[in-house]
Symmetry: C2
Subunit: 233 residues, 2 copies
DNA sequence: CGTCGACTTGAGTTAACTCAAATCATGTGG
DNA sequence: CCACATGATTTGAGTTAACTCAAGTCGACG
């Protein structure tokens, strides 16, 4: 069946016996969310978690004044909203579709039953949560110990490694969203991109495409070994 | 045996059949770490995780310039350093004893074997990692969306709820460490405590004891609904 | 009682923010 | 296919929260 095939492509379910995929197919609920629609809200009670099938989802926090901090952008194959399933708490952040997105929803009770019967599934989930924790420590480090140019440099290098296109990368999100992901605002991001270009570190094409000219310097920036000079004039 | 009794008091092992506690007792390694000694380092390969038995451990990140961001302070019964066990990566941060500390060390391979055989243990671990993720989202929110007075207010309220002593609380760490936990520096923390005292929100005894005078205002500060006025003179 | 780290206070600097405004990009309805 | 509406982006000007550097005080412990 189509659903089972899709389930089998989800890393969380790697190594699962076919019978368990069938069990999963029985409990899963497919949903389509339009661009800009909310999937769940910070503080809302959570009765299950999601896996992105197609499209993209941003998970974010909001301040009372409306400033947004993106915690993570999830793409196909990635699960999100698991925290309340296992911690028995509410969702710790908001989730919204960045584009038309298809997700699978797994109700808590049935999923926990499956985990009880299947140690591989438990270990896969433990691995995913652990990796998420690892990423979060990096995010905290960025926000607390690095300046915005360093965070941007780290992000560009990350994108460059994810996309193979040697030294030529494409921002897959708007600069406004990137600013929110980096814990800053669009104006600041824009100015720093300008500075990096002027320093000959990167070259910005139109349309969110960026070339890395001086990777060494970018790496030093990301490590906090050097700072971007103040070419203010 | 003594070890089994100590294991039974660890929340991670709640609900485990006695036979599994015996299994755990067989694989566990006891260690004593002196104040200031490092337990593991950021980036080091991890072959197991720890549980605090007595004492306290800080887990933290360091910037190249030596600034420190504390991610978490762990006390008796709390596990730490689990990420590499399940994600197969290195430790994502540094760990150091704040005082003389006894820990149990659980080697990765043996522990994963136990998890395979015991769904309750797996679910307990999933719950703990999920709660940790929840806390980290709060930390990111604090660092990115709140000013230092708001973070401090939130921390004081948290301490007040943890300690029962109505409106009278004791910092269990030095103010320098608190500064690092809040993502700031001692000078800034000191100034903000002074401001809060001058505003009549709190009263600082000598010796790290603090009284909450105006809880309402403290709560609004923590929520970011108001800001601390600039009584600069 | 002296030493060392913790804490406080002052003075000056700065990275990043807010506010404002202009420009560009995209897409929709006519 | 064009004109406008909406949102993204850039640039300028001014402000500020928090930082750095410096110096002095306090407090606990050997």
């Amino acid at each position: 069946m189509e659903t089972i095939k899709q389930l089998s492509h989800i890393p969380l379910f790697d190594g699962l016996a076919p019978e368990y995929l069938q069990d999963l197919a029985r409990i899963v609920i497919e949903q389509v969310i339009n661009r800009g629609e909310q999937i769940f809200a910070d503080g809302e009670e959570g009765k299950g978690f999601y896996v992105v099938i197609t499209g993209r989802v941003k998970v974010f926090k909001l301040s009372p004044e409306g400033k947004e901090q993106i915690l993570h952008i999830f793409g196909p194959g990635e699960p999100f909203g698991e925290v309340p399933v296992f911690a028995g708490t509410s969702y710790p952040a908001n989730a919204e579709a960045l584009e038309k997105t298809k997700v699978f929803y797994f109700p808590r009770k049935a999923f926990i039953e499956l985990i009880r019967q299947n140690p591989t599934l438990a270990l896969n989930m433990l691995a995913i949560l652990s990796k998420r924790l690892h990423r979060f420590t990096a995010l905290v480090e960025d926000l607390s110990l690095k300046e915005v140019p360093g965070r941007l440099a780290a992000y560009l290098l990350y994108l460059s490694s994810k996309q193979k296109n040697n030294n030529e990368l494409t921002l897959e999100i708007t600069k406004t969203q990137l600013a929110s992901l980096l814990g800053t605002i669009p104006e600041t991001l824009s100015r720093i991109l300008t500075r990096m270009s002027r320093e000959g570190i990167i070259k910005t094409d139109i349309l969110g495409r960026i070339q890395i000219i001086d990777r060494k310097t970018l790496e030093k920036l990301a490590q906090g070994e050097i700072r971007l000079s103040n070419s203010n004039l």
